[in-house]
Amino acid sequence: MAVDYEQLCREITWDVARKELGYAEDGEVNIGYVCVDRHVEAGRGEKLALIHEGHDGTLRHFTFRDLQQLTNGWAQFLRAAVSVRPLDRVCLFLDKVPELYIGFLGVLKTGAVVEPLFSAFGEDALVARMLDSKATAIITQKRHVGKVRKAKDRLPDLKTIIVIDHDEDGRKLREGEIGYRMMDHRVDDCAIASTYAETPSVLHYTSGTTGAPKGAMHVHGSVFAQYLTTKLVLDVRDDDIYWCTADPGWVTGTSYGIIGPWVMGATQVVLDAGFSSDRWYATIERHRITVWYTAPTAIRMLMRDGLEPVRRRTLTSLRHMCSVGEPLNPEAVRWGHEAFGLWFHDTFWQTETGSIVITNLPGMPVKPGSMGRPFPALSAAVVEPKTGEPITEPGRVGLIAIRPPWPSLMRTYWNNTATYYSKFLNGWYICGDQASLDKDGYFWFCGRDDDVINTGGHLVGPFEIESALLEHPAVAESAAIGKPDPVNMEVVKAFVALRPGFSASSDLELEIMNYVRKKLSPLAMPQEIEFVEKVPKTRSGKILRRVLKAKELGQPIGDISTMDDD
């Protein structure tokens, strides 16, 4: 059904979310309660909330009452045994196991701040994030505890490591480690912390061009934006079977892989298995998925395997599909329509915005390749980079800007307020992405305004990669850029100058690749290393990544008057 976008813009405000969820502007709100207990109290406790499918195909089912009792048990344990207090930072370092989802909401019920960490992070990536947040506890599992143990000596604030699958007859826990089986502890009643719309809730780290990753601090009131966008953009209803393929180590996996669908009271499916086209189609067919939120990289991988695997399955349960993480190319949108008879609706947002800000709404004509239009409760523009003045001329490129405030905008970068304030210009929040507008008001993505690498829908900071490279004994100088890639949009390419005594070889290239992968994460691993005599820098020592990128793309190098040519 066609949607009247202009009318929605007149009707939709954030107050609509508060009213529909029954919250006063200054009343208490806790994401854990809104996602779980609210449904149980309304008589929906026996409704299925989570269908979890393990990599071996094992299914586990959880109702909203199960979630209530388990999150209560978890909150009680954190308070009593770990002495977690409101506003403490508690990390989750888990695969996509049910305990990750339960743990997330349980931490929020205590009033502490939950800090999800991607389970493929290496030791250095953990240290960078946990040292900055001063996290006091981390919840992990046997297969990842080794990385935490290695990082622990560099984390003076970390007091407790909780292992969710510890066997009493297995390897011994060390000092400061507790074995706790979340599924064995159900509690009916638990005092949920008194939190308000502005109380900190979730801390997600994101990468920038310079310096260590920055912690975007969100608040419990973000739930109003996540509710309204889940309802109006993802079109999730309480009778839907919803599948968000994102990992909760990243913001999509929490805003729309935990909070959004469960505020709506929907049943969500979690598949804890690596990617394969057939497994994904089997998941849609097996669980009769109705709404699917995935990423361009995954869609392009599905495309690569062609239509035949789609035809083998019955996927008629699907009624709405959305995409996030990077621009969805027109070919992928058209392929999606051919494969499923539905359009993939692109959505644009980022860790800092906390919820979808520019999007293709259901019923809105999809222009393949366009990001869509601003979410109706928001005002967005393309602005001049220097002045922040809106650009109205169609086709002219500027920066994507959103008018604050909105409920899910980060409230600060943790320990980094100066950088937080630098994100605002002329009354706009500046996203750091370039786009242009067409005559119909649709946004068209053009690229990042900085050197951050978008690989597989995740942002990776070149500084972090360059720093890790420099720790390798053979590396004297390093630079990292994003190299265009047909599946992942970009992959990391590194340029390395070697120390005396080392010579370039394929053995050394593979050794350095694996070194970065283990220190940071597979996403940060250079997929290509070019050995160079020296890395281009300015006379003040700043790496000229734009020169390397231009050379890589065969484009003009531009002004190099500041380059150190010694």
């Binding site: 297969r143 990385k147 298995a273 690596g274 395997d305 597989g456 690749m513 597979p522």
Partner: protein
């Protein structure tokens, strides 16, 4: 070949604490089991190409082809035979 590949996976993709808990054999699911992710597949592919002096086209480096050591050995054998032909 089997032991060489298994050793590489054990050393490169499993944490030392984790290695004791995972029953890694030629039929252990690597990609679908979350031991090797799609990004890390690139370094595994590079290792195979280097060690067995073959070139695996990207189109053949699929999650299914890399999902077990058995399927990896089949892939390597195919390319070695091609090279020898």
């Amino acid at each position: 070949m089997k032991e060489l590949i298994l050793d590489y996976i054990r050393n490169e993709y499993l944490d030392e604490d984790e290695a004791d808990d995972v029953d890694l054999n030629e039929n252990t699911p690597l990609i679908s089991g979350g031991i090797v992710d799609s990004f890390s597949m690139v370094s595994l592919k590079r290792f195979l190409e280097k060690k067995f002096v073959i070139s695996i086209p990207d189109a053949e480096a699929s999650p299914e082809a890399f999902d077990t050591v058995t399927s990896i050995i089949a892939l390597v054998n195919r390319h070695q035979a091609k090279k020898g032909a």
